[in-house]
């Protein structure tokens, strides 16, 4: 193993340890720690990108695909986009926090005409994390 590969292996190790540490931290904080251990539900990169793109999609109909089933009808009936045109969403995957196997939060930054920091409340439906609510962060 070359020195370069050793360095890469060490970095991977650090990242993995950090991941385990983060996982523990997530698992031990908030309401979910008070129940039981459970299999971690992964919030994958593709899921993150799907949300980021869906929330800023050009039409209400296409935005609705990332909105949870429970609120989709009301959202579509309202007919207004989630964010103004020209907005950009960047989700911080490291803040993903499961409240239960079906409910989680993740923080995001919105830039563009209405910039701000938000906490997304996500609900897991048919294997996908979908947006069910948002809370503005200071």
């Amino acid at each position: 193993m070359t020195r370069r590969w050793k360095l890469i292996a060490a970095l991977v190790g650090v990242v993995l340890l950090a991941g385990v540490g983060l996982g523990l931290a997530v698992g031990l904080s908030g309401p979910s720690t008070t129940t039981t251990a459970r299999a971690t539900t992964v919030f994958t990169g593709p899921q993150q990108q799907r949300l980021e793109k869906g929330i800023t999609a050009p039409t209400v109909t296409s935005q609705a695909s990332v909105v949870a089933v429970e609120v989709r009808h009301a959202f579509e009936a309202r007919g207004k986009p989630l964010l103004p045109a020209g907005s950009h969403v960047s989700i911080n995957q490291a803040t993903f926090h499961e409240l239960s196997a079906q409910l989680a939060t993740v923080d995001a930054v919105v830039s563009g005409p209405a910039p701000g920091r938000w906490q997304f409340v996500l609900v897991r439906e048919s294997g996908q994390w979908l947006l069910v609510g948002t809370r503005k962060l200071a």
């Binding site: 079906q102 409910l103 409340v121």
Partner: protein, 585 residues
């Protein structure tokens, strides 16, 4: 699968410890830890239970709970009922030692069947309405359904007609929430021990298994008999959210929503299922009440969830939920509002002067407001009452008339068979009246002290040249008697004598006729009159006064009337047996 198996035991212990520590389950000191055995079929209720004529209200707690459910809060449900409907007595059915078992457990449904039967019988025995009202929280409502089903109790079920009203509070008629309330409702449930226990106890609790919607034993439970009047109360908690500053309140968990979170533990549809008519299950008159218990702001899930977990109950803006259904003022108002008319209706079945007078007024409204019950008693669904009511006599004056009413208990209350002088009651045969069986009638008359009063008694006949002939019912008589054209008796007061005779006291006015009778002065003497020697003969009476024709009637009368001075010495012709001579020769 939500949980890893190893956590079940830990959670079971934690839940039980938490429940005891937080007062969810309080062990009542009067019940032994060995079981729910009791001297009466209602565990924890003594044989000496004094219900009197009050309406019994039986309180039945729910899953993993105990009778303290009804004594918690300020006011507690017990106190709220007593304050709003004073003429009630609350009794709690205690099955806390087996409260995680399914309602078919011998100590739950079957025991409750016996308790209902005993309580209604005890009420009847103590002159109460003989019917009860039940308030059942959560699984307690399923225990009542079981108690009324012979299949469920595997023996004699309670008679549904004994229940005047059943009020269910968040009863999971078609199952409880967990794993059916959707991702939001299910998550909320896991944060609250009282809700989570339905999942964590599922491996050990037959009740938790039975209340799993769609698959549990609850679906096999017999429906509530349609003749049981039902008020079903459900709590509804909406779930609201916000998307980038725009509120969305469309996630209603009730009708039209995707999920029915109900009161967190029991869905609205499940709580109201028995109140709704369905094919083969008619429910005329049943009432459904949905209490708005606020909302869960799901966009604030992290903050709200942490607060909820810390409180072990849904945090504001949720204002009520499954475990506050006995203490929340709105629920208490709905409960007492339902109890009040039912208790009032039941009070008409009790053996009370008010209930008897109500029945008499329905039969004979004349002077009903002035009618009073002097004495009464009830037995085996019959009642006899001695009553006083004003009676306008010939001369226009009003006297207190004594009468008797025979009443028979019907489903809604007492039915008056009519009013009479009661004499025929002694013979046990009153033409036109329905009477109780002789033994029952005798017992009633004896207990009410009416045996002598209803025995046929001779009447007093007074008739002189200056007093129109008239008959007076025992033990009454005239207030004054003219003896001749000068002498007379006044202030006469009559009473039954100890030997079945009649005694009167009054004042004898003797005209001294000095210097002559027209201008003579009077001397007075206190006198006692004793009427005795009953005989039957024809007498002349003047019901319309001396100016009108007389009637001859055959009467059983006192034929000896003796006047004696209590002080002084009136002339001999004004005392003795000859002054007011009896008419029978």
């Amino acid at each position: 699968m939500r949980r890893h198996g190893g956590w079940h035991c830990t959670w079971f212990i934690t839940t039980v410890v938490l429940a005891v520590l937080t007062g969810t389950v309080t062990l009542p000191p009067t019940v032994s830890a060995a079981g729910v055995s009791s001297p009466t079929p209602c565990p924890g209720v003594p044989l000496t239970l004094k219900l009197g004529t009050a309406t019994p209200v039986l309180l039945v707690h729910g899953f993993n709970d105990g009778p303290s459910r009804f004594t918690q809060g300020s006011p507690s449900l017990e106190d709220a009922i007593k304050a709003a409907v004073p003429d009630t007595t609350t009794i709690a059915f205690d099955y806390h030692l087996v409260a995680t078992d399914w309602v078919t457990d011998a100590a739950i449904g079957p025991q409750l069947a016996q308790c209902i039967t005993w309580l209604a019988a005890t009420s009847a025995k103590q002159k109460g309405p003989g019917r009860i009202i039940i308030v059942a929280h959560s699984m307690g409502g399923l225990a009542v359904r079981c108690a009324l089903s012979a299949t469920c109790v595997n023996g004699p079920a309670a008679d549904p007609n004994l229940i005047r009203l059943l009020i269910t509070l968040g009863t999971p008629n078609t199952g409880s929430n967990p794993q059916t309330a959707g991702p939001v409702g299910d998550t909320v449930c896991t944060w609250i021990p009282a809700c989570d226990a339905l999942i964590t106890l599922r491996s050990t609790s037959t009740a938790a298994q039975a209340m799993v919607p769609q698959t549990g034993q609850v679906l096999k439970l017999a429906p509530l008999p349609s003749q049981v009047p039902l008020v079903a109360i459900a709590g509804e908690i909406a779930i609201t959210t916000d998307l980038f500053g725009s509120a969305l309140n469309a996630i209603s968990t009730g009708a039209g929503g995707f999920y029915d979170d109900g009161d967190i533990v029991v869905p609205v549809d499940s709580a109201l299922a028995e109140a709704e008519s369905s094919p083969g299950h008619d429910r005329p008159g049943a009432k459904s009440i949905i209490v708005n218990c606020g909302s869960v702001p799901i966009n604030l899930a992290a903050v709200w969830g942490a607060a909820t977990y810390a409180m072990k109950a849904p945090a504001p803006p949720v204002s009520c939920w499954h475990l506050t259904e006995t203490t929340d003022p709105r629920w208490q108002t709905d409960i007492t509002a339902a109890i009040k008319p039912a208790a009032q209706a039941l009070s008409l079945r009790a053996c009370t002067p008010a209930a008897l007078l109500t029945a008499m007024a329905a039969k004979d409204p004349t002077n009903a407001a002035q009618r009073t019950v002097v004495t009464y008693d009830c037995e085996s669904g019959w009642a006899v009452a001695e009553i006083h009511q004003p009676l306008t006599v010939n001369n226009g004056s009003v006297v207190q008339d004594t009468g008797f009413a025979v009443l028979q208990q019907t489903e809604p209350g007492w039915g008056s068979e009519g009013l009479g002088d009661g004499v025929c009651l002694h013979a046990g045969f009153c033409p036109g009246y329905a009477l109780p069986p002789p033994a029952v009638l005798h017992l009633i008359l004896q207990t009410a002290g009416l045996l002598s009063a209803t025995t046929a008694q001779p009447e007093l006949y007074i008739g002189t040249q200056f007093t129109p002939g008239a008959l007076y019912k025992y033990p009454s008589g005239p207030s004054k008697i003219g003896i001749d054209n000068h002498d007379y008796l006044t202030n006469l007061q009559w009473a039954a004598g100890s030997q079945g005779d009649l005694t009167g006291t009054g004042t004898l006015h003797f005209d001294q006729c000095n210097p002559d009778c027209a201008s003579g002065t009077y001397e007075t003497f206190p006198v006692q009159i004793t009427a005795s020697n009953p005989q039957q003969c024809n007498v002349q009476i003047y019901p319309q006064g001396l100016a009108n024709p007389s009637q001859t009637v055959n009467a059983d009368i006192f034929n000896s009337i003796n006047v004696q001075a209590l002080q002084g010495s009136p002339p001999a012709y004004l005392v003795g047996d000859s002054v007011l001579r009896g008419p029978c020769t």
